[in-house]
């Protein structure tokens, strides 16, 4: 047996009721590897890694870890033996402190006769955070007082402090800003450099190209390609993932900024925390992008425009001042939240209930809502966006990320909204769905809808927007017009 091999997976099979999520997957993870795992939503990559990390068990197949059979029953067991996983959605414990989150499951380290020595735990947590140059965190603070991104970082630290031989990073970087990503990349490189292995699941091919030295592509529960560093090439990878040539059509192919005269939404003299005020004007048939780091205030602009966050500036739509969400929706504004699972959809609801929620007000007659009309609208949207589901009665929680995002789009398309505020519309969504979303946005533009696209991905802003506003520290720093020669490097300097 090769001594380099840390983990070997042979013929892994897993089904969920009738759906075969894994149809015999083989995977070899070697020391020093940063092993990328890509595939469309539902291709089985998360299922495979969650079995490796002990979150669930395979139906059949064999795993060998450090020369011994590997069959962890819980995540904790796997972690203690050196296989750790960082999950896509936040996985910190609300209401607990930073230190309590860092040492969850290991409280006995600080216990004497059943009593917790909190001071000791806090001291150790602070030391750990200092070592990783994260001193801005305080061990005794409540985790809730930190942002989504910071909570993610705490989660990463929690997982990393163990003697981890195999680290699994599941679609984590979408939640992180530039700095957060760099922090994680450094940790990953360090981990791999010390002779361990890292498995990265990502939809971001730039990221995969940047950091991975081996790549496995999954499709429909099977491995379709194992690529070495030299063989990795974005176009080829995409083809393997989708299983067909998706062509070069991805972003818009025209390079002229276009828009009609009519102003559809205007934010006047918006100002955050007493910083310099600015305007954001949206026209009919225009895609305006806002770019910046995640804490640049760009997400707040979207919230202000939709009446969620109060601001000293004014929001106008067609001579009407928008003061709250209710008015915003009534006037035809749609908002697709970045925090999809918590704000944009009802997870325990089914597809039908979710799509209809904003639409009911349009189709009700006094109070009555016709079930026939409901069914018709839902069917139209499910077909139009090709939402993959067994029936519209399927729970949204059981859908893949891309299909959940389609549901959150469908809600507003069904409502016939005119102005779309999209906060990170392609976050955690695979290439196939991304392509659909971009095409959809282009079609919407042609129909005369207006889109305010807030995104942390510069490539998609450059690819889709007529105008781009770059924000930094809650101020508007620079405006770019659509241009074929625009490069990320031209923009980044205004962001950081």
């Amino acid at each position: 047996m090769n001594e380099d091999i840390i983990l070997e997976v042979k013929n892994l099979v897993k089904s969920f009721e009738e759906t075969k999520a894994l149809k015999g997957v083989d995977l070899t993870i070697r020391s020093g590897e940063i092993h990328g795992l890509v595939g469309e939503n539902g291709s089985g990559k998360s299922t495979a890694t969650s079995i490796i990390a002990g979150m669930q068990q395979a139906d059949s197949g064999e795993m060998i870890y450090l020369g011994k059979p590997w069959n962890p029953q819980t995540m904790l067991q796997a972690q203690n033996l050196g296989v750790s996983m960082i999950l896509q959605e936040a996985n910190t414990i609300p209401g607990a402190t930073v230190a309590e989150n860092l040492f969850v499951g290991e409280e006995s380290l600080f216990a004497t006769c059943g009593f917790m020595n909190k001071k000791k735990m806090n001291r150790q947590a602070d030391r750990l955070l200092d070592e990783l140059s994260l001193s801005r965190f305080h061990s005794s603070d409540l985790i809730d007082s930190y942002t989504f991104e910071d909570r993610k970082l705490i989660e990463i630290v929690r997982v990393l402090k163990k003697k981890t031989r195999v680290l699994i990073v599941d679609e984590t970087t979408t939640a992180l800003s530039h700095n957060g990503r760099e922090f994680l990349y450094d940790l990953i490189r360090k981990k791999a450099g010390e002779g361990n292995a890292v498995i990265i699941i990502s939809h971001d091919l730039d990221e995969i190209m940047n950091i991975c030295n081996v790549l496995t592509v999954l499709r429909d529960g099977e491995i379709v390609a194992d690529l070495s560093r030299e063989e990795m090439e974005p176009k080829k990878i995409r083809q393997y993932m989708v299983g067909r040539d998706i062509g070069d059509k991805y972003f818009r192919t025209d390079f002229e900024p276009t828009a009609q005269e009519e102003v559809t939404l205007s934010l006047e003299q918006i100002s955050f925390d007493g910083r310099a005020p600015f305007d954001v004007i949206l026209h009919k048939g225009e895609i305006v992008g806002i770019g910046g780091l995640s804490d640049s205030g760009m997400h707040r602009v979207g919230k202000v425009a939709f009446g969620i966050e109060k601001n000293s500036g004014k929001v106008h739509r067609k001579d009407q001042e928008i003061k709250n969400t209710n008015q915003a929706v009534k006037s035809g504004i749609a908002y697709i939240s970045k925090d999809r699972d918590r704000e944009a959809i009802i997870l325990d609801g089914n597809i039908k209930e979710n799509i209809l929620l904003p639409v009911l007000a349009n189709i009700k007659k006094s109070l009555f809502v016709s079930p026939a009309k409901e069914r018709k609208i839902v069917k139209e949207e499910v077909d139009f966006l090709s939402i993959k589901c067994s029936s519209p009665m399927q729970k949204v929680a059981n859908l893949s990320g891309g299909n959940k995002q389609k549901v959150s789009f469908a809600r507003w398309i069904a409502r016939d909204s005119e102005v779309f505020i999209m906060d990170c519309p392609t976050r955690g969504v695979d290439i196939g769905v991304k392509q659909t979303m971009y095409q959809l946005m282009e079609d919407m533009k042609k129909e005369g809808k207006s889109i305010l696209m807030i995104s942390e991905e510069l490539t998609e802003l450059i690819g889709m927007c007529d105008r781009m506003l770059i924000m930094k520290e809650c101020e508007l720093k620079k405006e770019f017009l659509r241009n074929a020669d625009l490069k990320e490097s031209d923009i980044i300097e205004y962001m950081i």
Binding site: F16, E17, E18, T19, A21, N41, G42, G44, S46, T47, S50, M55, Q56, L87, Q88, D170, F306, I308, T325, N326, A328, V329, K330, Y335, S337, R342, E343, A344, I345, I346, L347, D348, G349, N350, E353, L356, L357, P358, L360, A361, K364, L367, F368, V369, P371, C389, S390, S391, M393, Q394, K395, A397, N398, S400, G401, R411
Partner: protein
Amino acid sequence: MTATKNSVFSRKNIQTFLPVIGLVIVIVLFAFTTGGKLFSAYNLSSIIAQSVCLTIVSTGAVFTYALGSLDLSIGPTMGLCALIAALITNNNGSILLAFLAALGITISFSFINSVVSYALHLDRILTTLFLSFTAGGLQLMISSSVGGTIYAMADWSLFKSTSFQFIVMAVVVLLGIFLFNFTTIGKYGRAMGSNRVCAGQSGINIIKYQIIIYIILAICTAIGSLFLVSRAGSISWSTGSGFHMDVMIALILGGMPMRGGVNSRIISAPIGSFTYTILSNGLTLSGVNMSIVGMCKALVFIVVIILTCRNKGRVIPR
């Protein structure tokens, strides 16, 4: 990726039908143990009389439970309404007047539940707790000032007639089903119970619908209090206390998720109310010693909880 086929035996369907199965089991069981006495005309009318109040009020309560909060004020509020209704009718007021007075009380209480909790960002269980004390306190104050127990002396025969009871109950349940399943009231209420933020971002006027939903419960409580007067015959400071627990138990037996939300079912109210009533009725009728009826109910209750409220399977990571 988990394309769950909706077969008859899928977990979801079992969850939905379990309360119905529970009701059937209770009926069949007591049909045997009472030697058929359960279905005697006399007993059927007494089951209707026993369940009418509970069914009506829990139908209203489904709407507020769907919002995701328990209501601890239903019992004392009903007691207060019943007391006032008895006093009004005893003093030659009509039953209609008594109903309007009861409605006045329940609606003003419902405003406190919906508006105050919203404005002060209070958990609604706190405002219902406050109202529970207020209503209980008023009930005690009024009843002691008029000399303790009040006997309902007016003519309540209409409310004692089985057919009237049945008709009112049926109308309330059918209206409830309509409002809950086919109007924005029920749909928004459930959505708000599952995810308030998402409901707000979908353009739902949260406070407006919260007010409407609490008014539905208020109306049901007011109607229920009249049946309470007619059945009890005498009203004291403690009449109605604990009734909110009966409502809660009925809804749990009927399969209502305690956290409310999109999985709430209106049918929980009639199913649960009947299961609960027949359970009490059947135990007594089977000759079970009164002293152990309580323990028998506890046993049935825990079995139902184990079957319906357990962890609904693990979420599949992706």
